[in-house]
Symmetry: C2
Subunit: 113 residues, 2 copies
DNA sequence: TTGATATTTGCCGATATAGGAATATGATTT
DNA sequence: AAATCATATTCCTATATCGGCAAATATCAA
């Protein structure tokens, strides 16, 4: 089956460091492609292609203004990340709680003996 | 340059759905390889290979017990995710705040006119 | 129209995996 | 030692990108 394509799996799309850099650059706000090319050391076509992937997977949106294409983040699409991370954190905390309980039990036992 | 390898980039490692499934399965707690193979519909060698990747990238740890290898999560390695997401959330919230301020301004102006 | 600017797209080669099948390694039991 | 169980690893093929370069598109200016 191979991996789900970068254009359909948000996790896979973000798996590329270059695309993360682009997303990070866009935190500053809506930017035309050229501006992204300037701040990052990437070729223009490279940026364009990454933007296409990010757009297809829904992490960015694009609007045309004159001859520029302005890209902006679509942070709502980070939700899968959020949920996944939350799931794992919850589990981790639950386990920490168990450790806590365990330690308390030990203390109680220690106080009794 | 291509993407950073799955064995060195946590984001890339998690970019594969199969590996995410394995990580999810391990939320229940430490598990031997066979147990993972049983719950997920993946071949043994597939699971083993994914575990190797996850281990190299530090997302899981392994200990041997008899002829079994027990794998467990190493949730600390999710930190890069955490930080990255936090960065983007922060930015998103900041922008929402701006929208808020903007709306308030509009209301004030509306009240004055 | 011609030219310049902004961005996308197609083509190509190099590389990284993913996945299956079979085999190898290691530990345990008989 | 031989057989068995649990896992890892090797070999091989198909495929998915990635990155560069050049050509194609689109928009605006003179």
């Amino acid at each position: 089956m191979a991996r789900a394509s970068t254009t359909s799996d948000v996790f896979n799309a973000v798996g590329d460091a270059g695309r993360r850099e682009i997303l990070d650059a866009l935190i500053a706000g809506e930017l035309p492609v050229g501006a992204i090319v300037d701040r990052l050391s990437m070729s223009q076509s490279q940026v364009s292609k990454h933007l296409r992937v990010l757009n297809e997977v829904g992490l960015v949106r694009c609007r045309a203004e004159g001859r520029c294409r302005l890209y902006r983040l679509e942070p709502a699409r980070l939700r899968p990340f959020h949920e996944w991370l939350a799931k794992h954190e919850q589990a981790m905390n639950a386990r920490l709680d168990k450790v806590d309980e365990y330690l308390k039990e030990l203390q109680q036992q220690g106080a009794q003996s």
